[in-house]
Amino acid sequence: MIDYSSLLNDKIQSIQPSGIRKFFDIANEMDHVISLSIGEPDFTTPWHVRQEGIESLRRGHTWYTPNRGFAELRAQISKYYARRFNVEYNPDDEILVSVGGSEAIDLCIRTVIQDGDEVLIPQPAFVCYEPMTVMAGGKPVIIRTKSENEFRLTAEELEQSITPKTKLLILPFPNNPTGAVMRREHLEAIAKVIEKHNILVLSDEIYGELTYGKERHVSFADIKGMKERTIVVSGFSKAYAMTGWRLGYALGPEPVISQMLKLHQYAIMSAPTTAQYAAIEALKHGDSDIEHMREEYDMRRRLIVDELCRMGLTCFEPEGAFYVFPSIQISGMTSEEFCEKLIFSQKVAIVPGTAFGECGEGFARVSYSYSLKHIQEALVRIERFLSENPV
């Protein structure tokens, strides 16, 4: 029998499968589970956007596109980032269309990182940065953001984590799973630290359209002096409810984008053609769709925060994405215990905070990407669970 482990890459074998897997295997085998665990919009892609995708197929546009993505799409992305976030990118050489934001993150890390380089990853965060860093030969250096800072990255925490080997800082805001956002003043404080060191920043702004309250999301590239050090990653999944189309992009300095392009060219060729046609329509006529969805999320967010706090699952008010990150410490259980008991006794699925890094212990991620009715039913069950499990 072949000993595959001796033939396979040590790094990939050392990587653990996503911590949420086990949990979802439980959820999938149970009937009538009410889930508040999903990480994608519950809306379907706006119809006019879907129609453009369909129309492109009808006309037989089924070939590869240019490696960077259609020129028209890049032109629209350029206009969009300028219009919504005040940063201008040259569509000819500063924009790369990718297969979802995830591919752009992978390309960026692999393009920047070589053996032994350190990548600063604030956690709790989306699960992909750490394994991608490991695969690129880098060393993930975790910065634990704190609930008393509303899970923002502070300049002090950043400064303390930088070493001569630091090459890249990941800025995952608005944040999955905490819903934390970085306001302009917080980003400016980060920028002051970055200025002193020769490092790059990967700003994952995939939830950039989903912020609540008066201030809109501020792109890190909009902070003075930072555009030349920043690779912005975003995409269509969250803003336009287009997760299944798999389309994202990277924006950055030409010398970085051109290197990322080589990797993309050899590994992927070009992002899905149909999705690119649909995305052009989304960028041209989709601003009001974003606003409609954002208002819906906002209403759900206020409901869920209010109700969870009333039940004693306190959470700071999340200002971005579509997640709440309540503390479950009053239960006296670990995150995993809490979520397992909740699903077995009340059939409500939420995600243990530890799935997003060890520092997520004591918290759980609750998604509000569900209809109000669905959220309401789940809340009733969570409250029942708490009353049946008094401390």
């Binding site: 996503s18 999903i38 209403m299 206020r302 925060v305 109000l372 009715k373 309401q376």
Partner: protein
């Protein structure tokens, strides 16, 4: 559109505290607003959405088009009033169309019962000059609620990340 009414139209089950949280207003204001809507006849009540397709022997529904000659004084209103006075008539609308003027949704035990109701009760009303009966086969969506069960599609979604 008015947010409060929009939420209530989808579900009447929210407490005023929940509604207040969603709208970012005080509970007292929300209560007061609901009372006002009731007084103004904007909120008339709430009922439960039932998928009758899943209830055995729950009968049939038909959408009836009526072509009428409006009366000199009261126009369409008098005719509509007669149509809506029947208990088995669930809704009546006046529409702008070249083919007909009123549309009524009618429920009955059997197709024959509805056919009989149309020929004996509706088409005999003064000034009704023609009817067309459309029997409902499947209700996909009604009152903003989706009735068509496509849960099989959902199972293919990724639940992680």
């Amino acid at each position: 559109m008015n947010k409060l009414l929009e939420i209530l139209n989808k579900s009447a089950d929210f407490t005023t505290a929940q509604l207040a949280a969603m709208l970012g207003e005080s509970e007292a204001d929300v209560k007061k607003q609901i009372e006002e809507y009731k007084e103004q006849g904007i909120i008339l009540g709430s009922n439960t959405l039932i998928n009758w397709d899943k209830v055995p022997d729950s009968g049939v529904t038909a959408i009836i088009e009526l072509k009428v000659t409006p009366k000199p004084e009261t126009g369409f209103d008098d005719i509509a009033k007669i149509v809506m006075s029947y208990d088995n008539v669930e809704s009546v609308y006046l529409v702008a169309s070249s083919r007909y003027d009123l549309i009524a949704t009618v429920k009955g035990e059997t197709i024959q019962e509805i056919a009989e109701f149309v020929s004996k009760r509706l088409s005999t009303i003064d000034n009704v000059i023609g009817t067309a009966t459309n029997f409902v086969l499947t209700q996909y969506k009604s009152g903003g609620a989706v009735f068509y069960d496509d849960s099989d599609d959902e199972e293919q979604r990724s639940l992680i990340l």
